[in-house]
Symmetry: C2
Subunit: 201 residues, 2 copies
């Protein structure tokens, strides 16, 4: 006595989702079949369409529905600046600041040797090529300030410096509205080190 | 500047899964598109096939690929006993005991008025009809010993008793291998109340 094949297949397939174990997959399968068949049909269709219609922008590597994404295709961007971010969401966060008008390169990950994610998996060869086009004057590293994000920034810096390309890193410090009392000491130490001198008038 | 439509659609669709918020849905979408496209294709196909090929057994209401499921179609089951369980997994657990040879009725839920799940949603009309076929001699309530499972058992008992059908409830007590020290007091109290007298020889 076991589950019908189609049910077992669905449960197995749901387990390919990150962070979903056997119990969750089972609960999801019941939910889809029992309580939300419309949602299930939409999910199936959304997966199929995403797989067939989404590609990576040839220039910035972000997800795109066209070979060159709208940002890269725009003629209102500062082509001398190239910001390197880990994920598409990070690019969206940068855009939300409305304070950056350059172009992007999306790594689609960060160096993580233990997970088998090396320079090749985050497309560093394409980044180097992109940054070496003679137009880009500065590569701005906007990877996360996690251990992996920092290691990634470091590796990219070495590669770009070897090719004489200017590299900068977004600043680390106290968040706007942050109270020293609630900031971890590492961040505070960095904020001290990176302090900006106010010129006397 | 926003995500490509197909990506946004996929993230929205993933949020129909129970317990999946916007951040998880985003992470899942990236994973499927970036790291496991084969798994994504399988998931899409599994959803479609489950939706089209799975139905509910006309007799026991379990998921089935045929109008009557293999358990109900078997002629090796005791047709005088009908166990009522909440979910298909509970049926599988009962089967694993190899100690039950009757038939089943799967509610596909439990009474939960706050979630809009009433007698109709758990198919109590079909259960009554099924139990009233003149062959079933005993309905064994094997719903969970949660508040909702108990309320469901209580409601079914009332309905069946009104029709003169015998009802029993699986026993509550100390699990096999359970140590009193680690059992909650409610369970221990119930185990005391439900104690079985050993007949003197
Ligand atoms: Zn692009
Ligand atoms: Zn059946």
């Amino acid at each position: 006595m076991k589950s019908p094949t189609r049910l077992a297949d669905l449960i197995t397939a749901l387990r390919t989702l990150p962070g979903i174990g056997p119990k969750s997959a089972q609960r999801m399968a019941y939910h889809l079949l029992q309580r939300d068949r419309k949602g299930a049909a939409k999910l199936g269709a959304a997966i199929d369409r995403a797989l067939t219609e989404l590609m990576h922008c040839e220039l910035c590597n972000d997800f795109s529905e066209t070979p060159i994404c709208p940002v890269c295709a725009s003629n209102e961007r500062d082509t001398s600046q190239l910001a390197v971010v880990e994920m598409p969401t990070d690019l969206l966060m940068m855009e939300h600041t409305q304070n950056y008008h350059g172009l992007y390169f999306v790594l689609m990950g960060r160096l993580s040797p233990l997970d088998g994610i090396g320079p090749r998996e985050i497309h560093l060869d394409r980044l180097i090529q992109r940054a070496s086009n003679g137009v880009v004057q500065e590569v701005i590293l906007a990877t996360n300030f996690t251990m992996e994000g920092e290691a990634t920034a470091h590796a990219i810096t070495e590669l770009l410096h070897a090719r004489g390309i200017a590299v900068s890193r977004i600043a680390r410090g106290i968040p706007v509205g942050g109270e020293l009392e609630h900031i971890d000491s590492g961040t505070l130490a960095q904020a001290l080190t990176d302090r900006r001198r106010y010129d006397s008038k």
